[in-house]
Symmetry: C2
Subunit: 230 residues, 2 copies
């Protein structure tokens, strides 16, 4: 245990401060995301975590949206893509993949909201896209329709997760939801005949029931709707 000389010139502090870089920055962001939620994944909080000033992060990230997209890309690794190659009905397998995607977003409130604005484009996202396209192809959806349809499927899934997770996040959003339900229930038939006729059904079902129907409907629509109208 001979004491080494004071380490060649390195002025080390407590835990060896890691060199900055895209990878360590995103890793730190994911850490904060897991422990404190997306609302704490800010440039300033991240800089503190990395023991530097916020300005340093701008060498690697253009803005906060890009940071959030990078975090999302990381989390997309948790989407279960096994149904893509599993046996069984292709529609059911497609729904399973999309429900898994929604689940990942739903587990991390805030992430869905950012996904609508800054789309990721990393390996995990590409794999998800590829998987959905493979299933649509297996189901015989023409390529041109699948190309646009995959976007609709992801958009609906993401938007639903955004709404849903906001509602789970804060009480005000949940109140808002029931206030809308009440408003719809109370809409007078004289001025809003269709809303009155449909009534409760406008807000019925669980999120998953609605999503599963929506996925089936969008897939059926994509399957039967040509790109160029006659």
């Amino acid at each position: 245990m001979a004491p080494h000389p004071p380490a060649p010139k390195s002025r080390r502090e407590r835990p060896a401060k890691p060199a900055l870089g895209h990878e360590v920055i995103v890793a730190a962001a994911v850490r904060i995301m897991r422990s404190e939620g997306l609302q704490r994944v800010t440039m300033r909080r991240l800089a503190t975590e990395l023991d530097t000033g916020p300005a340093s992060l701008y060498v690697y990230l253009a803005n906060t949206a890009e940071l959030h997209a990078a975090v999302l890309e990381e989390f997309l690794g948790a989407v279960d893509l096994r149904p893509v190659t599993a046996p069984g009905d292709w529609r059911d397998r497609l729904a399973s993949v999309l429900i898994s995607y929604v689940g990942v977003l739903f587990d991390h409130p805030g992430l869905a909201r950012s996904a609508l604005v800054a789309r990721p484009r990393g390996a995990h996202y590409l794999a998800l896209l590829e998987g959905i396209l493979a299933l649509l192809d297996e189901g015989g959806v023409p390529a041109a329709q699948a190309a646009w349809g995959v976007d609709v499927l992801l958009q609906v899934a993401t938007a639903t997760a955004a709404e849903q997770s906001t509602r789970g996040e804060d009480a005000a959003a949940a109140d808002d939801h029931s206030a809308l339900a009440r408003t719809l229930r109370e809409a007078p038939a004289a001025t809003h005949p269709r809303i009155a006729a449909i009534g409760e059904d406008l807000m019925s079902g669980t999120a998953e029931q609605r999503l599963r129907w929506t996925f089936r409907a969008v897939v059926n629509g994509a399957l039967t709707t040509p790109r160029d109208p006659a």
Copy 2:
């Protein structure tokens, strides 16, 4: 022009400070929205506009999301609902209403983003809902399917406006978009055969072309997809 006595006790300043209230607050918010954009519709900026402190606004608004929802509700008055009662193909008229809705959101960047989270529930929103439901009914979409379908249509329209208007808003988001296009173009066929096979088509078309196809596809899907799977 006999000079009146100094106004009965009222300690008036420059322009008679308007009494606070939900209506004047929303009106001021709309004014700021028009002149400075949604990113300036903040509690603090609004308080300044109304010549008071931000705390005063919390008597009338629970939070910023509610404020943004109120502003959106105001702007929804600009959606063109005339196609609902016009002659012609119901699908085309439905698409026109939805395109008008997207247009309103698109003209006011940021509004669409907030619409995904805090849904409005005022008269303008109800009228939009009623109009879409009337058209779906005219087209013979079963009520149960229309009830859930209207949500999908509005969600897709809103999400598209959110993406699109973010892209128009700042250059970074636009770069992001072309970066995604490049990533997709360069995806190797060995690992991503479907992406490679479809290629350019994944990002092809104008926003309006894609939206019109999407609306048709969703409507067709809603028309033919029963709520309870066999």
